[in-house]
């Protein structure tokens, strides 16, 4: 190319940059995993393998790059919390690192949102002050359920191997995805960066209480993937193939949508236990679903984030969440949850 042409091209690039006012940022490609098996409150066996299988498969083809890897005693409660949310936090160097695309946690959670209190409707569940409730269907009887509550959801770690510690990702100091592109609307400054977070734990979210339990977790992260038991006593299995099933969809088609990929990854997961409405298994003991939830300013953007954003587009920081206003979700149940709706209204 002639020198004159190069100068003109450079001038045009500078002009374009000035007009947009937003400097181009590098692609966010990191894959970070955190996993715990060595719990003093109940040993697990397959979480380190689950996270490693996800990571290895994602990195087996070009595109994404290796982020951090922490297991057992290297997984701290502060890995998940934000230093700008008024708590002790260091997610900037751990679960919400600038430059990361996907962060995956595999380990324990707490099913304290489920109760054995019988119910026939939402209104029949005893009220708990300031906490929303739902009546989860429990049997083929259309009016028989058990109450569940929007109690803050938790990641459980065990840094010392002697005492389990909970990280509240509903109301605590957890805020993921904030960076210069997303802006600081999540009140977490701009020192994060992850674009898709997976919480692979027990009772990751209570059916229908997505807003109550997850609104504050978003600070720019496009989508969060979780496992959602849909009946009381159901739960995610201690499985080694869930993360690998998710990664396989990327390997097959990088132009597929990431949110639906997490939901549909349940189809390739094979362990678990039966569900009272038929089916079951697929990485879940009982009845449940893989669910992906997105938050954005308006319907077109939230639909795009949840159902259209591809693995390739996930790497682009310009696609970060810009604020809160609308939620969209996609889930795949391990049974016919269209016929057997999991909520008694």
């Amino acid at each position: 190319m002639a020198l004159r042409s190069r100068i003109i091209l450079l001038g045009l690039l500078i002009l374009a940059k000035c007009l947009t006012g937003s400097p181009a940022r590098a692609a966010e490609t990191g894959i970070t995993t955190e996993a715990v098996d060595n719990y003093s409150c109940g040993l697990l066996h397959n979480n380190k393998a689950n996270a490693a299988n996800f990571r290895n498969r994602m990195l087996s083809v070009s595109g994404f790059t290796a982020g951090a890897l922490f297991t057992d005693s290297s997984v701290y409660p502060t890995d998940f919390t934000d230093p700008d949310r008024g708590v002790s936090g260091a997610d900037t160097f751990n679960f919400d690192r600038p430059g990361d695309a996907i962060a995956y946690f595999s380990g324990h959670g707490v099913c304290d949102d489920h109760t054995n209190t019988p119910c026939t409707s939402q209104a029949s569940c005893p009220a708990m002050s300031g906490i929303q409730q739902v009546c989860l269907r429990d049997s083929e009887n259309p009016l028989q359920g058990r109450c569940a509550y929007g109690i803050p959801r938790k990641i459980v770690v065990d840094q010392t191997g002697k005492s389990c510690q909970s990280v509240d990702y509903t109301s605590g100091g957890v805020a993921w995805g904030e960076d210069p592109t997303s802006g600081g609307w999540g009140h977490a400054a701009t020192n994060g960066g992850v674009n898709f977070a997976v919480i692979d734990n027990s009772c990751g979210i209570t059916p229908s209480l997505y807003v109550a339990e997850l609104l504050n977790t978003f600070a720019g992260v496009s989508t969060i993937g979780l496992i959602m038991p849909t009946t009381v006593e159901s739960d995610a299995a201690d499985s080694a193939d869930r993360g690998q099933a998710f990664a396989a969809i990327y390997i097959a088609n990088p132009n597929s949508a990431v949110g639906p990929a997490w939901a549909n990854a349940i189809n390739s997961a094979t362990s678990g236990g039966s569900c009272q409405f038929g089916g079951g298994g697929h990485g879940i003991v009982g009845c449940g679903a893989n669910i992906a939830i997105s938050l954005e300013l308006d319907p077109p953007r939230v639909e795009w984030a949840n159902w259209t954003e591809t693995w390739q587009q996930l790497m682009n920081p310009a696609n970060d969440g810009a604020g809160q206003g609308w939620m969209a979700w996609i889930y795949t149940c391990n049974y016919d949850c269209n016929t057997h709706a999991f909520i008694l209204p």
């Binding site: 080694a240 097959a252 089916g279 308006d298 949840n306 206003g325 709706a341």
Partner: protein
């Protein structure tokens, strides 16, 4: 060279088993029949990858890439996965000014489902895979998974009844010699045009010796005294199984695990500990705990930034 290619030399084509089914020669010492391997292929698939299909091949994967999606063959395991491109692939919409307040429109984004009747979907998918050559005798049942989606304004809080059915996915349940096979998958979701939305198949050969061993274990457990002794042995290995009872299954490594194929007859027990994720604990017929190879994969920790 991949294991699937190597094993071709040992495969025996069985015409009665359908166009895609092959079997390893059965161990003559076993009375049990082997499980037949089934390799699904794009040519027999109802998945439409679209126009301009070209193959992108590397050591592990053969991907038939079209302008609508990809049909991928794992060249190591023989598993396939068909995945459509993102629906309505476009750049992210700009922020609406003023903020749009229209309802979230779910179904316009996706293909229409074949049916809202799960049994009807099961029958259609079973018929589809049978025509593709899956061994009929190994289909022990069917069940669905259900994909739904929805959305709404954050200010509305609890989101009852905002989700709509996108599609069912039917799974064929596999058994050989009356023993359920854990790890095998054959699933497909069909749209209203009887085209596949997405699908996956992994149906490896199951050696007759493993089937025979599982059947022998099941016969042994039918004797109450022998069963009591066996369970006592298991509880010495894993006291946390308590009084939980299990079942005899054959388990193999999963579709996209690239280590050596592991196929074992096991007694599988579901253990619900003191809270948290339930575990599936497996034992062989001697009472020793079985760990699948992919359950032992580990990485190397990153140095912690203090």
């Amino acid at each position: 060279m991949s294991r699937s290619i190597v094993s071709l030399g040992f495969l025996v084509l069985l015409g009665v088993a359908g166009p895609g089914a092959t079997a390893q020669t059965a161990d003559p010492s076993a009375n049990a029949s082997a499980g037949l391997r089934f390799d699904h292929q794009l040519e027999r698939s109802l998945f439409d990858p679209g126009a301009n299909v070209h193959h992108v091949i590397n050591v592990a994967y053969d991907r038939a890439v079209g302008d609508k999606g990809v049909f991928m063959v794992d060249r190591i395991t023989g598993a396939i996965l068909a995945v459509p491109n993102a629906p309505g692939a476009t750049p992210k919409p700009p922020i609406a000014q003023p903020a749009a307040d229209a309802a979230v429109a779910v179904q316009d984004r996706f293909p229409r489902p074949l049916t809202e009747n799960a049994e009807e979907h099961n029958a259609a998918v079973k018929d589809y895979f049978l025509k593709a050559g899956i061994p009929a005798a190994e289909i022990a049942g069917t069940h669905v998974t259900t994909t739904m989606a929805g959305g709404g304004a954050v200010k509305d809080g609890v989101q009852f009844n905002r989700s709509v059915l996108l599609w069912y996915t039917t799974h064929l349940e596999r058994s050989v010699g009356g023993i359920p096979i854990e790890g095998s998958v054959a699933f497909a979701a069909l749209d209203s045009n009887h085209k596949v939305i997405n699908e996956g198949v992994y149906w490896p050969a199951i050696p007759a010796t493993v089937v025979a061993r599982a059947q022998a274990l099941r016969r042994m457990l039918a004797d109450s005294q022998a069963k009591a002794g066996f369970l006592a042995k298991l509880r010495r290995v894993r006291p946390d199984i308590g009084d939980a009872e299990g079942s005899v299954v054959i388990v193999h490594t999963s579709a996209f695990y690239h280590g050596a194929l592991q196929v074992q007859a096991v007694y599988s027990v579901l253990v619900r500990g003191g809270g948290g994720k339930p575990q599936i604990v497996r034992f062989d017929d001697s009472g020793s705990q079985v760990r699948m190879a992919e359950e032992t994969v580990r990485g190397t920790d990153t140095p912690k930034r203090k």
